[in-house]
């Protein structure tokens, strides 16, 4: 789990350090190139010229989970895809975040049936849910900014304690 493990609880040092770290994490969050269904197209739109997520330093979509910080689950997760998704999540290095983009990833959406996980939070822990079917690119960007707010509030020492 990244710096938390290296530092442990160091009191004053971590509080000043954590501002810098959190700032850097919000400004250089590289998403994983991970599209599942319809929402992936809107995610691509969000990357494209009109909305341009690269403004937040997010255009470096990494194809390898080892190098990415953020997994945007864009679309419905089928029972066959769930284990694959989980493995990809496990392969990502800490700290990592997940955005459930769209209704299907958040709660199953219109597909209340045998084939679809009713929300990707059954497979991986989710940080931010973005509603919409599919969400507009603005909504996704809002979701990302909401995640940034969450990241800015992370206390390095606390997180270590909480997880243990």
């Amino acid at each position: 789990m990244g710096v938390e493990q290296k530092l442990g609880n160091m009191g004053v040092v971590t509080t000043t350090l954590e501002n810098v770290i959190n700032w850097s994490r919000t400004n250089a969050m590289w998403p994983m190139l991970f599209g599942l269904a319809c929402c992936a197209i809107e995610m691509m739109s969000a990357q494209a010229a009109h909305y341009d997520m690269s403004r937040f330093g997010m255009e470096l979509m990494r194809a390898s989970p080892r190098q990415s910080d953020l997994m945007i689950v864009a679309g419905r997760v089928s029972k066959k895809m769930g284990p694959v998704l989980r493995r990809l999540y496990d392969q990502m290095p800490e700290p990592k975040w997940v955005i459930a983009m769209g209704d299907c990833a958040s709660c199953g959406g219109v597909f209340n049936n045998y084939a679809i996980y009713q929300g990707v939070d059954e497979v991986v822990p989710v940080d931010v849910y973005v509603a919409g079917c599919p969400p507009r690119p603005e909504a996704l960007i809002h979701g990302v900014l909401t995640l940034y707010e969450k990241v800015k509030g992370i206390k390095l020492a606390e997180k270590t304690v909480e997880e243990k």
């Binding site: 789990m1 990244g2 710096v3 493990q5 810098v20 770290i21 700032w23 850097s24 994490r25 400004n27 250089a28 969050m29 494209a48 010229a49 341009d52 690269s54 403004r55 937040f56 330093g57 255009e59 470096l60 990494r62 194809a63 390898s64 080892r66 190098q67 910080d69 392969q91 290095p93 800490e94 700290p95």
Partner: protein, 390 residues
């Protein structure tokens, strides 16, 4: 007798050079992202700091504080060593490149290069090819089939382009009549080699793209084919080292290109003997000094322009296919380079023998003709292949 100050000088210069390359790498990533964004009607990173100027710092800090995974079945020693093996040559490479003219400071002559090698060009050749070991070993030790394919591709690519690269160096050596980079730069006082041998400069740029694995020759990490190629299993700072090596190599290669063909730290040839010349002496009031500091500025300008050339190509051209890359290297570039070297040598020889300065202009004309013939052949081949649909 050893002068201890020379050690200090070396250390200081080496340190400064490393810092230049490190910050250069960081801001090159930003430069590339902004330039790409501009070409692609986007904005690019502009949130971290004013105009996104702190973006590289954010990236760096994030990567430093990221967990570093070492996957279970990797060959640990090699896995850890490979990024180092890639990044060190890219730093060391810059040691022989003169960044500016010599000047006097504290009563001693300071030169703006770390080492003055008589065989500087040879040094560049040998160090540049070491970096490929890092890539191959990274690919092999990762225990990942994609990474391995990337590593293999990279070694094959390196072998097929090394020869052409060497021949391009040979062109510069013939023109400069020396293997010392300082002398090559000095030889370009009257005329850039890029003007005398434009085809050579062009081929050199193409070959260096392949040498530093840049698009359209970015085979080892071809994202669409091999996901992330040789660094697929690397995370955190280890990955950043590969990133660093690639971009530093871009910078250094552009420096080399500038040195060999575009006059190095020297001014534009038509500014010779003017106020803007590196050799000119500026007078402010009663204070006279040599304008040596223009050297690094000219170098920077040239490097920025050449880097933009690389970024521009990346934005517009599709990736070449692996086997075509090899075919292009062996069947097109190598013969072309041989012919170009031959033309240059003969041109110089005739110029020396007959003493007619106009003869030297036969070299650019003939070599551009060669390039045109090659391009025409490629197009004819394509047209035949595509049944006239081109």
């Amino acid at each position: 007798m050893t002068d201890w100050t020379i050690w200090v000088e070396w250390v200081v210069k080496g340190f400064i050079l490393c810092m230049i390359l490190l910050t250069g790498f960081a801001y090159l990533t930003l430069y590339e992202r902004r330039a790409l964004a501009r070409i692609q009607v986007r904005v690019g990173p502009n949130r971290a700091g004013p105009q996104g100027l702190l973006q590289p710092i954010a990236d760096a800090v994030k990567l430093i504080f990221k967990e570093e995974l070492t996957p279970g079945k990797v060959y640990k020693v090699v896995f850890l060593l490979a990024p180092v093996l890639t990044v060190v040559p890219s730093l060391v490479l810059a040691a022989v490149i003169p960044l500016g003219d010599k000047f006097m400071l504290f009563g001693r002559e300071i030169t703006l290069y770390v080492a003055d090698l008589n065989v500087g060009v040879l040094y560049l050749m040998s160090i540049a090819s070491i970096a490929v070991y890092g890539i191959v070993l990274a690919g092999w030790s990762s225990n990942n089939k994609y990474a391995m394919l990337g590593g293999i591709r990279s070694s094959a690519q390196m072998i097929s382009y090394e020869l052409s690269l060497g021949l391009c160096f040979v062109i510069a050596i013939i023109l400069g009549n020396s293997m010392n980079l300082n002398e090559i730069v000095d030889a370009q006082r009257d005329m850039w080699f890029a003007v005398i041998q434009p085809a050579g400069a062009l081929v050199f740029m193409v070959v260096t793209l392949a040498e530093v694995n840049r698009a359209p020759f970015d085979m080892p990490e071809a994202e669409q084919e091999l996901t992330a190629g040789y660094h697929a299993e690397y995370s955190g700072m280890k990955f950043a080292l590969f990133f660093m090596a690639e971009y530093q190599k871009m910078i250094v290669i552009c420096m080399i290109a500038a040195t060999l063909f575009f006059g190095g730290y020297r001014e534009f040839w038509f500014l010779k003997d003017t106020f803007f010349s590196v050799d000119s002496v500026w007078t402010i009031g009663s204070w006279q000094f040599k304008a040596w500091f223009l050297g690094p500025i000219y170098m920077l300008l040239k490097v920025i322009v050449l880097l933009f050339f690389m970024i521009w190509i990346r934005a517009t051209w599709p990736r070449i296919r692996y086997d075509r890359l090899m075919a292009f290297g062996w069947k097109v570039l190598l013969p072309l380079c041989l012919v170009l070297a031959f033309i240059t040598a003969v041109g110089i020889l005739l110029f020396d023998l007959l003493g007619n300065p106009m003869l030297i202009w036969g070299v650019p004309v003939l070599s551009m003709l060669c390039i045109l013939v090659v391009v025409a052949f490629i197009y004819r081949d394509l047209r035949r292949k595509s049944h006239g649909r081109v």
